[in-house]
Symmetry: C2
Subunit: 338 residues, 2 copies
């Protein structure tokens, strides 16, 4: 099958912010932007890990101001467009207007996978501003492909030009990814994107599956720099795409060298799959549940992974940390009665 | 599709030997064996990284004797069978007889993917000894699926009960894996196995694809402990198999805990994908070519990755290090004439 060139959206300077506690300096942002831009990536996203307005007590303060992060990236991106992330509720229309004024040309309006409704005004504003406007359905593993499509259709109706399946927890299997992307390609008139995490070691594989199903855009970062087990690593995905003959505009060697010589030495800790991130991918719950599950596990003498698995089965999507004590108590009782 | 329980062949104590320069102590071997055995793995392979007889100036001396490695593993494996690796040319019939006498019940007779002929006497001897006898076709990416099948048929004719597609360089894409395993399942009467490496970040994905195509056995190691970018990590593959409902006998939490609490702290360096291992996966050549390519690259001012890519295109399988200078010279000339 012949297909159009895949659009690479780099998230080293946005999802990667999580892995460095939002502490990139403008010098680092400038250096990384130059390298990513020179490698041929199409879009460079640069924002606090939790998007516009994310720098706060709740989400962690970034080292540099939003303005400096965006303007520095814009100043050093010669060919790539610069993008920002916006989570309605954290970021506002005003944040978006300012980011646009500082030179951002792409915005990804991100909601939980079952709450696309909250993106309406932000998507419409972005379209009004003439931005490349993307709907970004986070935690896409937490609902069915059919429900996810319904939410995507809402974003399409608001005017988004691209809709993403976002595997925030790295919890999608290859079949899960295939089903979601295929449904989007069949029923949406927008472009379709995929954002993967590596918790189950499927970041590259899921991205390939998404591209096989016709995805138009894909998210990657140098050396996988990103939250948890990290994102799909640019250089790894490009290597596989080259081997398969899938067209794109990224220079493999430049991406490899930037990842190895510049990105990895900047990391505070190696971005890799560990027990914690694997547990999140396996259970598919929000990372905010982890600490609670560990505490409850200790208190009631049950494995926190069993608590998370049960909470996930119950359909938790975020904000149901109060379920955890009840689940821990139930599991402890079951243990006694065995 | 309902399928039989997948047989896990652990290689932590064999392929993992490479990652620790063959320096596991008997205490470490005992500790790891207990944990791997207790996790429910079916076969535990324990040998020098290059198989029986591998401890030498050429391949590196192991810390413990072959006898102590095998007998320690046998002593602590309560449920799992103990296996050994044998590369004809390095190991001999006599090595095999001794390993069997020390309690090894499984042997994998390994040859380059186009040289199955050299395995005849070793496979026949293993069958005579009543061992679970496996043919192990290394560097399976370096020939076509059809040629690989012809080599597998030779091993089948010698008496092997299982034949493996071995992705030594971590160079197979998912389609490459699918094609090879599917052909084996269609045309062989033996069981079929898959041994993956993670150079292209596809260790878990390729193993899943192999299982989807009906593979009966799969190789893994704790935390991916193995040569280069490492093997398929047991705990990661088990997590995905659980999510997909593929039957096996491994306890996920025990594998996760053994990987995190015991295996990772034993590692001399993190087993991960770096520029070097990614280059090997991308070009698919033997690691022995790397040093030569780097030297020639420096001397002639060309990128060693271009040299390796070209050498791979020329069909190198190992032992053609002398091609490298010629390729480097040609690339340097092309560079001048551009």
């Amino acid at each position: 099958m012949r297909r159009a060139k895949v659009i690479f959206n780099d998230v080293t300077l946005r999802d990667g912010m999580h892995a460095i506690r939002h502490q990139y300096s403008t010098d680092q942002i400038a250096e990384l932007t130059k390298l990513i831009d020179d490698s041929g990536v199409d879009i460079i996203e640069a924002t606090h890990g939790d998007g516009l307005g994310g720098s706060s007590i709740q989400y962690g303060f970034s080292r540099e101001t939003e303005k400096d992060i965006i303007k520095t990236t814009v100043a050093h991106a010669k060919n790539a467009k610069v993008g920002v992330l916006l989570l309605p509720g954290i970021g506002t229309i005003e944040h978006l207007q300012r980011a646009h004024d500082w030179g951002a040309q792409v915005v990804r309006v991100a909601t939980h996978c079952t709450e696309a409704d909250v993106s309406e005004q932000h998507i419409k504003k972005a379209v009004d501003l003439g931005m490349d406007t993307v709907g970004f359905l986070m935690m896409s593993s937490r609902t069915t492909p059919e429900n996810l499509l319904e939410e995507a259709k809402k974003m399409e109706s608001y005017g988004a030009g691209t809709i993403y399946v976002v595997d925030s927890a790295g919890a999608l299997t290859m079949d899960d990814t295939r089903n979601r992307i295929a449904l989007f390609k069949e029923h949406l008139n927008t472009a379709v994107g995929f954002h993967g995490h590596n918790n189950l070691s499927l970041g590259v594989a899921n991205s390939i599956v998404a591209l096989e199903e016709g995805a138009d855009r894909v998210d990657t970062s140098l050396a996988g720099m990103g939250a948890g087990a990290g994102n799909t690593a640019t250089e790894q995905l490009v290597a596989v795409m080259n081997r398969m003959g899938i067209p794109h505009g990224v220079d493999l060697y430049k991406a490899m060298d930037a990842a190895e010589n510049v990105m990895k030495p900047m990391m505070e800790r190696p971005v890799q799959i560990d027990r914690l991130s694997l547990t999140l991918g396996y259970t598919g719950v929000y990372s905010s549940f982890l600490l609670f599950a560990e505490r409850a596990g200790k208190e009631y003498g049950v494995d926190p992974r069993d608590i998370l698995t049960k909470v996930a089965e119950m359909g938790a999507v975020g904000g149901q940390e109060d379920w955890i004590i009840g689940v821990a108590q139930d599991l402890a009782k079951q243990k006694l009665s065995v």
